[in-house]
Symmetry: C2
Subunit: 378 residues, 2 copies
């Protein structure tokens, strides 16, 4: 189904998606106004001067996430800038509210270097309880997130990296069960080393140290390549320990798992046929996967996941981030660690009681998700 | 009445004052999710890429004001920084919603130089439909506002300056009628040349070119003083054309109007007695005025206004800013000009049908205010 027309119609009808409301929905008397604003509010400010921790008791920051993007790497749209990316960030704010009852403010930035982005986010950080970085291009996204995590006292989470990695790990845990494999024994090929691919590689390495091979448009990332930037060199810490060179089709031979976060149609039926028996295919390019599930299955794939809501096994960040932030805000967690991510992935996987080839991942509408994940973000 | 206890109680009970909501309050089906977020939202982003004006049709920015402060000059609290100023800014967001149905996000900044503040606000500006600067100290506030007005394509309005100036002008228009004066003939003494005092002087000059004398803690601002910074030198363009030196009590002799935006108890009964017959006193220091109304009246004052809600004639910015921003957003106004401010002041004054000594300013609860002001911001 094409959602373009419905999207334009709904956005026009409501003139956007979000609004603000007062928490106190009883009558706002003149007396209350004098308590919510001057002169009474001064007592609240003084209490925070004395104890900055009181910020969370007295202001909306206790349940507030900023969704921040510079619009440099949006969906399938690329670098569309701050204005055109606003509907996407406001959409993310809608998801935060809908799935986790978290208030969220979309902030799109008209600056684009890591220094400027870090400086801006640090400057506005006291206004929020947590920060969700969104649709910021690689490799800048890595430096930006790392610096902010080191310098701020609230959680900073780049969802394109970690949300995707968590849901991929959840799906793989169940796909392992369906195909009778152990992740630690698996040979995994990851196609695409942008934000998502990099985070997937790091999290899988942390979880089970499988044999991972990363592939970009020039072939396998290996220590013999002379064209690697710093970010790709870092990936060598977690992948291709043996130093193999070659193409995607070379390295796919005998592989157990293909994870694509790259581009439409990259994976052919021929390539799937050269993989290990009953291979697992996560073809996550959006909106068109690296290979369509029916083609992959005909070529022998045992389990196929995509990013699409109209196909089985949708790898959707919305399975993870609402619960992650719900837990971080409720439990006063300042850093989302790898352990948190792995715990969240296990929780998501466990919500599928009897995994099958067409059900390794719960539905995004599953209301158990947010409370179950939030409980392990401690 | 002391509102401290009620303020602490309400802020704690509701854990802050504001929340976000979806505009669409019907059931959020899976289909709608695919229209509000990926994949459907891409069509909305593309429409904005093609025509950036569509931002207002499709996103919440059409009804969104950022309330931005660095917390450097809050109420009577001074420089309390970004965390402790959050309750005040969130309170302002509450006023925006309550009085004008405008969505508002409080942003408190952890940067404090004009360069950093301007850079940060420019960086986040695409996320908002207008910017309300709040509680930023003088003289930095002047440079910050001027630079942002010149560089941004959305309205930027420092409410401590212009909101106060508009309401003071409105009150003076009616006080002139009550005491049978013409503003253009009046001798006016303004005590305090911070954000509010400066804006009052400029707006009164623009409106009627009365004789204005500005006074700071060292006496009358005059061309003979050697201690004036650039900002105070600029005030000489609008005041003290004749170059008089002296103290507050010197210059008050024979004055028609005293406007205090300075500090508690500065004005004595003796000084009031030296003013022109039936003088007008605007004693706006908060929470304790330059002189209490009963003392001023006993000394001969015909009309007294203060900043307090428990006394007659409250000069309250909330009379002006909700309607100003309502009009700017609805009428696509990019700059709030002096003409807008004067029109707004006239509208506010005209809402008092028969001005008297104890009613020169309408109540902040008067529901005619916002639509009447919005209509003239065109």
């Amino acid at each position: 189904m094409n959602f373009d027309e419905l999207a334009l119609e709904l956005h026009k009808k409501y003139k956007g998606k979000m609004t603000t409301q007062l928490r106190d929905n009883e009558e706002l008397t003149r007396e209350k106004l004098s308590a919510y604003y001057t002169p009474g509010v001064a007592a609240v400010s003084k209490a925070i001067v004395e104890n900055p921790e009181k910020l969370k008791d007295y202001t909306w920051t206790n349940n507030l996430v900023a969704v921040i993007s510079d619009g440099s790497s949006v969906l399938g749209l690329g670098n569309i800038g701050p204005k055109a990316s606003m509907p996407v960030m406001e959409g993310k704010a809608l998801l935060f509210k809908h799935f986790a009852d978290i208030n969220s403010v979309p902030i799109t930035l008209d600056v684009h270097t890591p220094d400027e982005i870090v400086a801006t986010i640090k400057a506005i950080a006291p206004s929020f309880g947590a920060i969700n970085l969104e649709d910021i291009g690689a490799p800048q996204c890595f430096e930006i997130e790392e610096r902010l995590k080191a310098e701020l006292d609230i959680p900073v989470f780049h969802d394109d990296q970690h949300g995707t990695a968590i849901v991929v790990l959840a799906g793989l845990i169940n796909a392992m069960e369906v195909t009778g494999r152990e992740l630690s024994d698996a040979k995994i090929v990851v196609s695409g080393v942008g934000a998502a691919g990099t985070a997937i590689i790091k999290l899988l390495n942390k979880y089970a140290q499988p044999r991972i091979f990363a592939v970009d448009s020039k072939g396998i990332i290996s220590k013999n390549r002379t064209d690697l930037n710093e970010h790709k060199k870092e990936i060598l810490k977690y992948s291709n320990i043996s130093g193999i060179d070659g193409s995607l089709s070379d390295i796919l031979q005998g592989a157990d798992i293909f994870i694509g976060v790259s581009r439409a149609g990259l994976l052919t039926a021929d390539m799937v046929e050269t993989m290990d028996k009953d291979p697992i295919i996560f073809a996550l390019a959006n909106p068109t996967p690296e290979i369509m599930p029916d083609i992959a299955k005909a070529a022998g794939a045992a389990v196929v996941a995509t990013g699409r809501s109209d196909l089985p096994n949708q790898v959707n960040n919305a399975l993870a981030f609402p619960g992650i932030f719900r837990g971080a805000l409720d439990n006063n967690v300042q850093q989302i660690t790898d352990e948190h991510k792995i715990s969240a992935a296990k929780v998501i996987a466990a919500l599928v009681k009897n995994p099958t080839a067409i059900e390794i991942i719960p539905s995004v509408m599953d209301e158990r998700l947010v409370p179950a994940i939030a409980k392990v973000i401690i």
